[in-house]
Subunit: 207 residues, 3 copies
Amino acid sequence: MTALVLLDYTSVAIFALTGALVASRAQLDIVGFAFLACLTGLGGGTLRDLLLNRAPIWIADPTYLGFGCAAAVLVFFSAHLIESRYTAILWLDALALPVAVAAGAGVAASLGFGWPMIVVMGIVTGCGGGLMRDVVANEVPLVLKQGELYVTCALAGSGALACALWLGLPAPIPALACAAVTFLLRAGSLGFGWRLPVYKARPPRNK
Amino acid sequence: MTALVLLDYTSVAIFALTGALVASRAQLDIVGFAFLACLTGLGGGTLRDLLLNRAPIWIADPTYLGFGCAAAVLVFFSAHLIESRYTAILWLDALALPVAVAAGAGVAASLGFGWPMIVVMGIVTGCGGGLMRDVVANEVPLVLKQGELYVTCALAGSGALACALWLGLPAPIPALACAAVTFLLRAGSLGFGWRLPVYKARPPRNK
Amino acid sequence: MTALVLLDYTSVAIFALTGALVASRAQLDIVGFAFLACLTGLGGGTLRDLLLNRAPIWIADPTYLGFGCAAAVLVFFSAHLIESRYTAILWLDALALPVAVAAGAGVAASLGFGWPMIVVMGIVTGCGGGLMRDVVANEVPLVLKQGELYVTCALAGSGALACALWLGLPAPIPALACAAVTFLLRAGSLGFGWRLPVYKARPPRNK
């Protein structure tokens, strides 16, 4: 479980940074920074733990909340140094997503679930925090942004983890494969515009 | 429990169609379709199960997720055939609502709760998925649309189920009464404009 | 536990009034009033109980739902008597917040949690219901309103409760200190514009 906890810590810390950056765009005070940082950092894992009917991991280990508060303070005093906060949010989010997906899918695997639940828990853990951040801050959810891969990356990454486990690959490989696939797809989407075909509205009638 | 599971399956499948149709209006890709379809189909039942402090039913039975994905694929390749997607969403939602209310109220009754919890669980299960769909997709929640019956239908339907149980009517009647009352009220509201009196703003002062 | 239950009842009743007032601003019908009143009144405590992995308190005690419905009826027939509904919402919310924070922090303390969890549960219980009300009704969340103290009040109040407990003060004092600190800060923010420094956007470059 130690490796899983480390993954959780890392994803919480990076996601918390994106939450604090969103707070800086909304010009909140330091407590608002900490609130959005903790919501974003802990949201996905909390949703996963609620769905698995167990107490969220930060209830027993307040260190997680410390990461959120530290991210809030760090961003509050340094966000003015960043050239484009929106770009920083996008790329930090792209870094946090693979780690959170690996943590979520890994927890489901360690509990003995089959591949459907591994994939779903990877998606929930990866996308939950960012979704809550965007719904509460009233931004367009990254999850639903048209013409970008987001949920797809989490899906592919946790699928990779499930495949690696099915092939019987030893311990760190499935998580690494998961993180690599998720990050490469998301980075490709951000940097090179990779996308799936979107639903095309029909042409107007009678014309 | 078999009848309840069948009700759950049916409501999940129909609600998932409405989620996929909302995704088509937002021009998402196929994974976005599946995401919104699963959120809408499973949202209400998941909320009910969380409130009842048990693991959501789809954790142990991934078939539910299969319904969501099938609905996504079906809509992705056929939504262009539909004359008005918004009308389709409204009426499919009106079909799914009674089934979900009956499933939710039935679960509460089968667990031995009294009428207040039967009514609340009917409302939560019926209205939760659609509410999540609309909040995430940033549409005006059907639940809160002014001058339409929605929560009221769920309330009346689960009330009918509680009454039928209290009268000691045998097994399929309470669920049928619930679905019939819910559907008739909702259809009447959509088709004939049935409504409750809304809160009237006071007339302007000094005039 | 009796004092805690009384606090819970009080905060549910006052928060429910704010939910019903928001419903009156959205011109909903009586069922919409009851829906928003129950969501607002019960939202924070429900979130707290889900996070603590126990069934929400109103599952076993439907009296809570009765408060929500009573508030809905009361407001439906008397909201036209109120000079400014928005001011009424703000100040009722300011009355409910301290009570809910004290109830939430008190529950965490009574379960033997340390100060981080006491503070977090105070914030979650105090701010959760209002946040749900505002997200569902599509208003700007009070929690995130720029230049006002809100989460900060809950933070300071539950911190005061944790301090009072740490000092070993006898039974009603910690809860009273919590409510007093929360209310004074919130009232000061509403009445006198007290605030924390907000994040200042950098000045435009090259100018």
